[in-house]
Amino acid sequence: MAYDAVSVEGIKYLLPELVLVSGILTLFIITNLGDAKIRLPLTRLRIPALLGGNRFKWNSDPRLPGVISVFTFILAIAMLIQTLGGDTCNDLVEKFCAETTILTTTGNNPVDLLKLDSFSRLFELMFFLALLLVSAASINRLQADSNPSNDDLDQLLDNRRQVDFHLLLLISGLGMTIVAMSMNLFVLFVGLELASLPIYVMVAFHKESKAGTEAGVKYFITGAISSAIGLYGMSLLYLWSGSLQLSVLEATWAAMATPETLPLFGISLLLVGFGFKISAVPFHFVAPDAYSGASSPVAALLATASKTLGFIGLMRILMIITLPETGDAAVWMLAFGILSVVTMTWGNLAALGSENPKRMLAYSSVAHAGYMMAALVAVAAWKNGSFVENNSGGVMAVELIIGAIIFHLFVLISFKIGAFMVISHLETEDEVTDMSSLHGLAKREPIIATSMFVFMLALAGVPPLAGFMSKFLMVTGIVQVASADVLTNTEIDLIPTFLGMHWTFFLAISIFINSAISLYYYLRIGVLMFFEESTTRLPLPKVSILRFVILLCALATIFLGINSDWLVESAIEAASTLFTNS
């Protein structure tokens, strides 16, 4: 069904986004209530209002903005779930799916702008969940200095900073939802910028420390250049096809008999933009700096939501626009294959010796991008291989792979954010600059340490945790497309069987080897926590909400591994809508 985006029916489908907008407004208004001068957020500008004097006691509480944003996100999730529905999938326990709804521009010749289907809805849910966890974790986290005091002025400043921070979070969330829904490359890009610009600020938010500003500058400069390059590539595509609608681009691409220079350049440059988002080698260099300079919740956001944005873009471009229906190999296949192997290996090797836990997590995040890229490559192999799927009962391999990527992006929220939250909790005590902060954590905080270990094992892909399921699904997909041809051939011996595999099979091998390498540094964290002695045996400062988030993440990590039924089906459903109704 297609609706006008600004009509009543159309707006109805955008309820979650509206909730975010109203959240932004609420945040703005409530924190200024009672003040004679209304402060513009993120600035020191104050506009004199007609009424009032000083702010009230209750709305100068530094925790208030955080609470507001948390409730906004919870409400947004509720709205999101409420908008799900239809005849086939009204049971959320069974499957997370939505009817496909297309929102168009106003006018006589409407253009499809946004598509609401299970793909976009699932991604929205992911964004909201990530943002919810991050905002919950930063309710009373981002003080101006590490020693909170009851001084009113300090509180006021804190409150101001908190307003700014959560406002940025909400705005970023708005951008993310647009990315998830867009049917037009430019809209996608606008959403991406809307999501990224606040993140640049958030990375630099730690402005009291040298590292924070440095990270912000580096991340901003590199990010801006990457997205500019990406945008230039997009403009080349526009020059070539005359439209940035995904459907038009797809059709034009399919109609292209011989590869032309312009679209190839365009696609390549566009990939740079998204490559930066997912921090693929060689666009990843700033990632460890940014992660280590930014505060941990922001780094968590970079590692999950921001990466997810990049993957949405990649899926749109690679899976919809440039994937040939049959026959030829996708143009990006070899390039991406090489990049994926380099990325995962680089990430893991670099993480291996990293002494800063945040940098280590950053490198591990790079490696995980490599795994998912490898999965994307396999999709191309499926399309170009001669293997005809005997699809009598199961889903297509390609859906399995995309579903696996979606699954992985989803579960990353639980264990990647969880890991950063543990670091965040450590930061409440002192700066986390090297591994010694983790020393002896198990003796100080057994629960936190155990959770951290669970996150690490999940990142390494140890069963039965969530990280294992995602890797398992990915590899299954890759192996399926790479090996089915040769394995059903009963005539040949071992060596031909092995050599007869499509080369993407070695991507699976590469994932396995890399998992083994990665285990080294993930386990090292566990060893540091459970083995090394710390200087103190006192527990960490008590920050209940952080603990709650960490425990929630840990339980989710375990639960999504042991009982991933719902999520697997939803992810695959989402993957299939990516292909079917474009």
Partner: protein, 567 residues
């Protein structure tokens, strides 16, 4: 501060309850009438130990001592319940089961629940003549280990970890679903990792990581095999699965026997070999065989007594068990093709391991290498492709599962009471610690294959089978038997005996007086010793079912391939 910790523990317990409840709610795992495996054998130890550990973590540090006895007894209680149930199973009391007469690929106590329906993973458990001894062994070793290492440090985590380990191991042995099998396979690493890391020796950090990474890396290849096998199925096998396939081991083993489904040969020669290699790498590293063995000495030397008892007793057997359950049952062509290779690897492990033992100065290291050597015998039994060889290999798994815990228990007691593991650092243990010396001698004698002790039957069976298949190759195991005797006796002479009128305690003891083993250690070790004797004199208690299983396996899987070779 103390208050704070208590709250955290409550979180955990509450969270666990919620998690369990959620699992119950979302996947219908419930204790049904005939399900004696899921909850009693796996659920009870795993959940119980997690609860115990959660409870311990909730107790503030200064009060932990006061709960340690409670935790110990609770752990022991759980493990004894498991032992009781498995013993009842073994003795056919629970259900009237004739373990020796089960046909191939038929399982007792079999139950199936949906687990992760979307990919076709099921909670599918069952026991047959192959897994019953292993399950019983596991169930037995956990309480024995708990008793033997009753006085270990930090018992509030240590003993529940042992119980947890036991639960995971039983999970491996009863799993009839590849997914479940793999999950439990890897899950066993975690408690062992912690056991080594927290209670181990000086180099425990290195050893724990090496152990985990090494075996994990190897089993990743096994995972690849599982995935390929999964994908090779007809995609209309499982309706509820989105891929249309399932992980059902039972079904796949059956299909592998039929060879032809949907008009195609299901597993071609090349595919079989590829899968065989992938699975075998995982199992051989776990077993372990030369040259993939170097994780074992490090892990064993560093692991605490209880850890190495379970590690050597059951964890190594996972490799052997896996070989029988998957590659041999499913890829007959590859088995026959690779027979010679297996034999050579087995020979190398056996022979080389024994020589390395001879050159060791560390007692635990020597015992660890003797495990490598003995695991070679398992491989030889498999390579023989004889019912007797198979049965011998399985019995070797079982017997070594009794003997090696005793070896490590004794070595651990030695370390504990004498603060050293150097062979030859002392003389005359028989005088200072007659019980320790006696147990040490007994276990070493059992390990070198003395008749009427458990290991002998297995060795003889394997050697006979080996002769049938390979003839004069049997000389090498023969020589190894002599070398084995040599290194044990040499060590015995330099540790237990000698010393003259005034025997020399080791220097590491300082001014302490040498002590004998505690009552708990005595009880644990004697229990093992008695079992070793019982199964040495009456091997048929288990040998019958092993032999039945082996004959069934050969007849229904391998016979065609083997006779094909004869022409």
């Amino acid at each position: 501060m103390a208050e704070n910790k208590l709250n955290d523990g409550m979180y955990v317990i509450g969270g666990l309850f919620i998690a369990i409840a959620a699992m119950m709610f979302l996947s219908p795992i419930s204790l049904m009438e005939d399900d004696w495996v899921t909850l009693p054998l796996i659920g009870l130890p795993i959940l119980g130990s997690l609860l115990l550990m959660g409870f311990s973590s909730a107790v503030p540090a200064w009060r932990k001592e006061s709960i340690s006895e409670t935790i110990k007894y609770a752990s022991l209680g759980i493990s004894l319940i498991v032992l009781t149930i498995t013993s009842l199973m073994m003795t056919d009391i629970l259900m009237n089961v004739h373990w020796a007469n089960i046909t191939f690929n038929q399982y007792m106590y079999e139950v199936e629940y949906n687990w992760i329906e979307s990919i076709g993973a099921e909670w599918h458990v069952g026991i047959d003549g192959l897994s019953m001894p292993m399950v019983w062994l596991t169930a037995l070793l956990v309480p024995v280990t708990i008793i033997t290492t009753w006085n270990e440090k930090k018992p509030w985590y240590y003993h529940p970890l042992l119980v947890l380990m036991g639960g995971c191991l039983i999970g491996v042995f009863v799993a009839l679903d590849f997914f479940m099998f793999y999950v439990f396979w890897e899950l066993t690493l975690v408690p062992m990792f912690f056991l080594i890391l927290n209670w181990g020796g000086k180099e425990r950090k290195y050893a724990a990581q090496k152990f985990f990474i090494y075996t994990f890396s190897a089993s990743i290849l096994m995972l690849l095999g599982i995935i390929i096998l999964y994908l090779l199925q007809d995609p209309s096998t499982a309706n509820s699965s989105i891929t249309g396939r399932s992980f059902d081991m039972h079904e796949m083993i059956k299909n592998a026997q039929q060879e032809v489904i949907l008009g195609n040969i299901w597993l071609g020669a090349g595919t079989q070999k590829l899968l065989f290699v992938l699975f075998m790498v995982g199992f051989l590293v776990k077993l372990p065989v030369v040259p993939f063995h170097t994780w074992l000495p490090d892990a064993h030397v560093q692991a605490p007594t209880g850890g190495s008892m379970l590690l050597a007793g059951v964890m190594l057997k996972m490799g052997g068990y896996g070989m029988f359950r998957i590659p041999i049952s499913m890829f007959p062509h590859a088995v026959v093709e690779f027979q010679m290779l297996l034999m050579i690897i087995g020979m190398i492990s056996l022979f080389y391991g024994a020589w390395v033992c001879l050159g060791q100065t560390n007692l635990k290291r020597m015992v660890a290498y003797s495990s490598v050597s003995h695991m070679g015998i398992i491989l030889l039994g498999i390579a023989s492709l004889q019912p007797l060889g198979f049965a011998g290999a399985i019995f070797m798994m079982f017997a070594h599962g009794l003997i090696s815990p005793m070896l490590f228990g004794v070595a651990g007691a030695f370390k504990h009471h004498y603060h050293t593991l150097e062979i030859g650092s002392m003389r005359g243990m028989a005088k200072h610690s007659p019980w320790l010396g006696g147990n040490m001698m007994f276990s070493w004698m059992a390990s070198l294959g003395l008749p009427l002790l458990a290991g002998f039957v297995a060795e003889v069976a394997v050697l006979v089978a080996l002769w049938f298949e390979f003839g004069w190759w049997v000389i090498i195991p023969g020589i190894t038997l002599a070398i084995t005797a040599a290194y044990y006796l040499w060590s015995m002479q330099r540790t237990i005996f000698e010393g003259g009128e005034n025997t020399q305690p080791p220097e590491s003891l300082g001014d302490e007086k040498p002590k004998d083993i505690y009552l708990t250690e005595k009880v644990g070790l004697m229990a093992l010793a008695i079992l070793i004797v019982i199964f040495g004199i009456f091997p048929f208690i288990f040998f019958e079912m092993m032999s039945g299983y082996s004959s069934e396996l050969i007849e229904s899987v391998l016979l065609d391939e083997i006779s094909g070779r004869w022409g």
